[in-house]
């Protein structure tokens, strides 16, 4: 028994240098911690998003499958974004899984909740849709609390200007690779049917949800 323990300890000590050299290689930039820190530089320490020159989206509490699908979308030219195209290329699949998992557990307060007056109008659209304008209830897919599911993103606490920009530019950014149709097709008719005021209202509502 003691001999087995001793062998384990000695074996462990011998394996340690090899292990630390792998760690060192990861720490050089490709490891989860380094990449996590890299994401946080733009998306915020708690993944709450950031108002840069462009609104940088909240990743906190986001659906892991959504994050994975979007990173793939940048690489496959399904979604256009010059910055994220480069970023996505630097992430190994195992690192992507770990990052998506980490961000899904963050739960900071919404960064910039939209105005209450707008949010009330947005709530009605979110919960009931507008059948006369061919707009389905957002809650039907994104869930009653806008937490999302699978590849359908969480919207709760998202930056309102980010949501608004995405809705207004849907067909210029998403579904850009005709040979690889994706889930962005589901949103296309809805995004087209929403006018500016309605998109602003919905954005204000979801951005205030916790």
């Amino acid at each position: 028994m003691t001999r087995t323990l001793l062998a384990l300890v000695v074996g462990g000590a011998l394996a340690l240098p090899a292990f630390t050299s792998i760690q060192a290689a990861h720490a050089a930039g490709a490891g989860v911690e380094a990449k996590m820190n890299y994401c946080q530089d733009c998306h915020g320490p708690a993944g709450q998003g950031f108002h840069g020159f462009y609104p940088i989206p909240r990743l906190a509490g986001q659906q892991p499958d959504y994050i994975k699908n979007q990173l793939q979308a940048f690489i496959q030219h399904r979604r256009t974004n010059n910055i994220m195209f480069n970023v996505a290329h630097s992430l190994q699949p195992s690192v992507i899984d770990a990052l998506a998992n980490r961000f899904s557990h963050f739960n900071p307060r919404p960064l910039s909740p939209g105005s209450r007056r707008l949010a009330e109008a947005g709530r009605k659209i979110f919960e009931n849709g507008m059948p006369e304008a061919n707009i389905a209830a957002c809650a039907a897919c994104h869930g009653p609390e806008a937490k999302g599911h699978g590849e359908i993103p969480r919207l709760a606490g998202q930056l309102p200007d980010y949501v608004f920009n995405k809705l207004m530019n849907w067909s210029k950014e998403r579904g850009q690779n005709p040979s690889l149709p994706d889930t962005s097709l589901i949103m296309e008719p809805v995004a087209h049917s929403l006018n500016q005021a309605q998109a602003q209202a919905v954005a204000a509502y979801v951005s205030s949800l916790r």
Binding site: A34, K35, Y38, C42, F50, F53, I56, N86, S90
Partner: protein, 215 residues
């Protein structure tokens, strides 16, 4: 006798009205000096331009203020007063200079300098511009260096409290990036301390060179 009494009364009245008008004048001057909108020849502006240049074009080590984002300028004054912006030039010059600026004057000064035309210093190393532009616009994902463009904008124009970097002096840009990395101004908003720590000296040199030419 009656006449002289009336005359002396009149004299008193005149004296009083003179005194009131003097007070009014003084108040008017004070208003112009300290709470009116800033003018090129106002004392508050001149206190800045002694160091920052008569057109606020910058003069080593004082950065160009012309064309800077007003939100950024106001935030810096707040940080100088609170002693949270603590790099050497700030503690030496700006803590004292900003100590007695009230928020209204800070607002006026920021608006005044923001409206002046920003002329690029264009004093960086021309051979490093291509590398600097690449880091600025695309980042270096393999080294976990984010693209500056995401926050500072495609022409390095800045927005809100995020500063315009385009056309600032090469030495100023270089020094500030190094100071961020050392840990000065650490209480400032995320993410510059973290971003700057990842930049090598050569990368800082390239970024500062590129930015000095951006208009």
């Amino acid at each position: 006798m009656v006449n002289t009494k009336a005359q002396s009364k009149n004299r008193v009245k005149r004296k009083l009205s003179l005194r009131t008008s003097a007070v009014t004048m003084a108040f008017a001057c004070w208003t112009v000096m300290f709470s009116g909108s800033a003018q090129a020849d106002s004392p508050a502006v001149r206190n800045c331009t002694w160091c920052h240049g008569s057109s606020a074009e910058g003069y080593t080590p004082a950065p160009r203020l012309a064309g800077q984002r007003p939100g950024y300028l106001q935030q810096q004054i707040v940080d100088f007063k609170a002693h949270t912006r603590d790099n050497p030039a700030s503690t030496q010059y700006m803590w004292g200079a900003a100590a007695y600026l009230d928020p209204r004057t800070a607002y006026d000064l920021a608006a005044y300098f923001a409206a002046l035309p920003p002329i690029p210093a264009a004093d960086g190393r021309a051979d490093l511009v291509a590398l600097g532009e690449s880091i600025y616009q695309r980042g270096m994902p393999e080294e976990n260096i984010v693209a500056c463009v995401a926050c500072h904008g495609p022409n390095a124009q800045g927005v809100g409290a995020i500063p315009r970097l385009g056309g600032l002096a090469y030495t100023y840009l270089k020094r500030r990036m190094k100071e961020w990395a050392i840990g000065y101004h650490a209480t400032a908003r995320h993410p510059m301390p973290s971003v700057a720590r990842k930049l090598s000296s050569a990368q800082i040199d390239a970024l500062a060179s590129y930015l000095s030419f951006v208009r």
